[in-house]
C-alpha cells in the first residue's frame, strides 16, 4: 500500500486539476467581463461625441493629462475637472482608509481577544455591520437630511437656525445663527464623505480581519496566554504576522474600493449639479459616459478608466509585493518540506490522519 501511494505521488501530475478548478471562473470571466472590459478600454482610443466612435489614438489621454493650450476651454475643462476629481479621490481615500483600517483592526482584535470576556460581544459585532445593509442611495438621502445645508437640516435645526421670529426674540437674539453649509463647503463635504465611507465599511473590514484572526490557530493564543504575554505582545508577535495575508487582501480591496468610490460622492448633493469637492474619478468616468445621451464622451470616459486602472495596478502591485515575497517563499518551503515528510512517512509505512 505504501508503495502504491508513493507511486501515485511520483507519477500522477495533479496539474490538470488546477486547470479544471479554475476553468469555470475564466470561462465566465472572459464572456461576461473581459469582453465588455476590453471593448471599453478600446473606447479610450476612440473619439468623443458619438455612439459609434472611430479610432483617434492617444488624443484623449493628451487632453486629460497634458497642460491645456491657452483659451482652449474644452481642454481646460476636461483637464481641470479630471485633476480636481483625482485630488478629491486621493484625499477622501486617505481620510477614509486610514481610520477605517485602524478602527477595524482594533475592533477585530478586541472581539477575538480571549482574555476580554465581554457579554454582548455578538450583539456588537452584528451591529457594526448594519450600516452596510442599506443601499447607498438611502444612505446619501439620510445624511443629506441630517447634515444638509438647509437651515432645516437636523444639525442646523439643533443649532437654532430654523427658529421663528418669535423664538429668536424670546432667545434675545437679533437673528438666527447662519446655517452650517456642510454639503457645499470644501472640507465639510469631504470629511462627511470620509465619515460615511468609514461608517458604511468599517464593519465589513472588521469582519474580514476577524475571519483572518479566527483562522489563526487558537492554540497559539492559548500558548501565548500561558506564557504570560500581554495583549500588545500577543498582537504584534502572533496576530499581526499571521494576519498578513488577510491584511494584504484588506489593504488591496479597501484601496481598490476607495479609488473607485462612486455612490456616495455621486449622490451627496441637492439639485442637479454634482458636488465638485467630493466627486471622484469614478464619477468623472460616469459623467463623461452618461451626461449626454446623444453625444456621449466615451473617449474621455475610457481614457480616465485606463488611467485609474494603471494607478490602481501600480499601487496594488506595490502593496502586494512588499507584503508577499517572504511569505510565499516561506510557504513554498514549508510545502516542499511537508511533501518530503509525507514521502518519508509513507516510506516508513502507514500514514493516516
Amino acid at each position: 500500500m505504501a508503495t502504491a501511494a508513493q507511486r501515485r505521488i511520483k507519477s500522477v501530475s495533479y496539474a490538470k486539476y488546477g486547470y479544471i478548478f479554475i476553468l469555470p471562473f475564466f470561462i465566465v470571466y472572459f464572456i461576461f467581463a473581459l469582453w465588455p472590459l476590453l471593448q471599453t478600454f478600446v473606447l479610450a482610443f476612440c473619439e468623443n461625441g458619438t455612439r459609434e466612435p472611430a479610432f483617434i489614438g492617444l488624443d484623449n489621454f493628451k487632453t486629460i493629462l497634458a497642460t491645456p493650450p491657452e483659451n482652449d476651454f474644452k481642454a481646460m475643462g476636461i483637464h481641470e475637472t479630471f485633476w480636481r476629481y483625482f485630488k478629491n479621490t486621493l484625499i477622501i481615500w486617505v481620510g477614509n482608509f486610514i481610520p477605517q483600517i485602524a478602527l477595524s483592526l482594533l475592533l477585530a482584535v478586541w472581539f477575538t481577544d480571549l482574555r476580554v470576556k465581554m457579554p454582548g460581544k455578538g450583539f456588537f459585532k452584528v451591529v457594526m455591520y448594519m450600516p452596510n445593509i442599506i443601499t447607498a442611495a438611502s444612505v446619501a438621502g439620510l445624511f443629506l437630511a441630517l447634515f444638509g445645508d438647509s437651515s432645516y437640516s437636523v444639525i442646523n435645526t439643533l443649532r437654532g437656525c430654523a427658529m421663528t421670529k418669535e423664538e429668536i426674540a424670546a432667545a434675545g437674539l437679533t437673528a438666527a445663527p447662519e446655517p452650517w453649509k456642510v454639503i457645499t463647503s470644501v472640507w465639510g463635504s469631504r470629511v462627511l464623505v470620509m465619515f460615511i465611507q468609514v461608517w458604511m465599511w468599517f464593519g465589513n473590514t472588521m469582519i474580514m480581519l476577524m475571519s483572518g484572526i479566527q483562522g489563526i490557530n487558537e492554540s497559539l493564543f492559548e500558548a501565548a496566554e500561558i506564557d504570560g504575554a500581554n495583549s500588545t505582545q500577543t498582537f504584534w508577535r502572533i496576530t499581526f504576522p499571521l494576519l498578513k495575508t488577510i491584511m494584504v487582501y484588506t489593504l488591496l480591496t479597501s484601496m481598490i474600493g476607495g479609488l473607485q468610490m462612486f455612490d456616495i460622492p455621486f449622490m451627496l448633493h441637492t439639485g442637479n449639479i454634482i458636488n465638485e469637492n467630493i466627486a471622484t474619478i469614478a464619477v468623472f468616468v460616469y459623467q463623461m459616459f452618461h451626461s449626454n445621451f446623444a453625444k456621449p464622451s466615451f473617449g474621455y470616459s475610457g481614457a480616465a478608466s485606463v488611467i485609474l486602472f494603471v494607478i490602481t495596478s501600480i499601487l496594488g502591485a506595490l502593496v502586494f509585493y512588499v507584503q508577499r515575497d517572504k511569505d510565499a517563499i516561506a510557504k513554498k518551503k514549508q510545502r516542499k518540506a511537508a511533501i518530503k515528510a509525507a514521502k518519508a512517512k509513507a516510506k516508513g509505512g502507514g500514514f493516516s490522519i
Binding site: 501515485r8 478548478f21 467581463a33 451591529v127 442611495a137 480591496t253 509513507a346
Partner: protein
C-alpha cells in the same frame, strides 16, 4: 508570606487592569453602536410618521402611521404601479441567493485550484485575477450592454446571476485565507487515502474553509441584494413582475413631484427587512461559532 501578598496584589492589579480595559472597550463599543444605529433608527421611525410630520422634523420616537404609509404604497397609483414588496423581495431573493451560492462555491473552487495545485499557469492566472480586480466597474457598462443585446439577454436574470461565478475579489480573499490557514498536508494525506480531487475539495476543504465561506456568503448576498446599478442596466423593461427590491426603492426615492415622504421611508424600511433578517440569521457565523475552522490538528 510577603511573596504571597505580592502575588495577590499582582493578581488584583491584573484584574483591575482587565476591568478598566473592558470598561473602556465597552464605552467605545456603545458609542459606535449608537453611531451605527441612530441613522438607521431615524429611517425606521420616519417610516412610521406621516409626510407632513417628517418634513423638517426629526424624531427618535416612533409614530403610529406605519400601516398608513404602507397603505399609501399599496393604494396610491404613484407607487403601486411599480412597488410591490412581495414581488420585489422574491425577485431579489432569487438573484441574491443564486449569486451568493455561485460566488462562494466557484470562488472557493478557483482559489483552491490556485493554491493547492502546482501548474504552469497558476502564477499568471493569479496575476490576471489580481489585475482585473483593479478595473473600475462603472466603465464596463457599455460593453456589457452591447454583449447583452447581441446575446439577446436583456431583461433576463441570467446576466445578473451567471457572472457572479467570476468574482475576482472573492477568489483573492479565499486564496489569501487558504494561504494563511489551510494545511496543505491534509490534501496529501487524503490523496494517499485514495480520495479523488473533487471529493477532497467537497468533503474536506469546504468544511475547513467554513469561516471564509460564511463571511463571503453574507457579504456577497448583501452586495448582490443592493446591486442597483447592474440590475438597472439589465432589467430595462421595468416590468413590475421582474423588478428587484432596490429598483423599486430607487423608483420610490426618485419621485420628486408629489412624493409622500412617509411612504418613501416605509418603502426603504420594507426593503431592508429581508436583508436584516437574513443577516441576523447568518450572523451566528460572524459572532464566532466558526472560530478556527479545520486548522486544529
Amino acid at each position: 508570606m510577603s511573596k504571597k501578598v505580592t502575588y495577590a496584589d499582582d493578581k488584583g492589579g491584573y484584574q483591575t487592569h482587565v476591568i478598566i480595559k473592558s470598561a473602556l472597550i465597552y464605552v467605545v463599543l456603545i458609542l459606535l453602536t449608537l453611531i451605527c444605529l441612530v441613522p438607521i433608527w431615524i429611517l425606521v421611525v420616519n417610516a412610521t410618521r406621516l409626510h407632513n410630520d417628517i418634513i423638517g422634523n426629526v424624531s427618535l420616537i416612533p409614530g403610529t402611521h406605519l400601516f398608513d404609509n404602507i397603505r399609501t404604497l399599496k393604494e396610491n397609483s404613484l407607487y403601486n404601479v411599480f412597488f410591490s414588496p412581495l414581488v420585489g423581495m422574491k425577485n431579489s431573493l432569487i438573484i441574491a441567493g443564486c449569486c451568493c451560492a455561485l460566488t462562494v462555491f466557484f470562488s472557493g473552487m478557483t482559489a483552491y485550484g490556485l493554491v493547492v495545485y502546482d501548474f504552469k499557469l497558476a502564477g499568471p492566472a493569479f496575476v490576471f485575477i489580481l489585475a482585473v480586480m483593479m478595473v473600475p466597474t462603472q466603465v464596463t457598462a457599455v460593453g456589457f450592454m452591447k454583449l447583452l443585446i447581441n446575446m439577446n439577454l436583456l431583461d433576463s436574470y441570467i446576466p445578473l446571476i451567471i457572472p457572479s461565478i467570476a468574482a475576482p475579489a472573492i477568489v483573492f480573499f479565499m486564496r489569501q485565507y487558504m494561504l494563511s490557514s489551510f494545511p496543505l498536508d491534509i490534501i496529501e494525506a487524503a490523496r494517499i487515502d485514495g480520495s479523488n480531487e473533487f471529493r477532497t475539495f467537497l468533503t474536506i476543504s469546504i468544511p475547513m474553509m467554513k469561516p471564509a465561506f460564511a463571511v463571503q456568503a453574507i457579504f456577497a448576498f448583501i452586495q448582490k441584494w443592493n446591486d442597483y446599478y447592474n440590475q438597472s442596466i439589465v432589467l430595462v423593461s421595468g416590468k413590475k413582475a421582474q423588478l428587484t427590491m432596490p429598483m423599486m426603492v430607487q423608483k420610490v426615492i426618485a419621485i420628486d413631484r408629489n412624493a409622500d415622504y412617509g411612504a418613501n421611508y416605509a418603502a426603504i424600511f420594507l426593503s431592508i427587512i429581508p436583508v436584516v433578517v437574513i443577516y441576523i440569521v447568518l450572523s451566528r457565523f460572524i459572532i464566532g461559532g466558526v472560530a478556527a475552522g479545520g486548522v486544529k490538528e
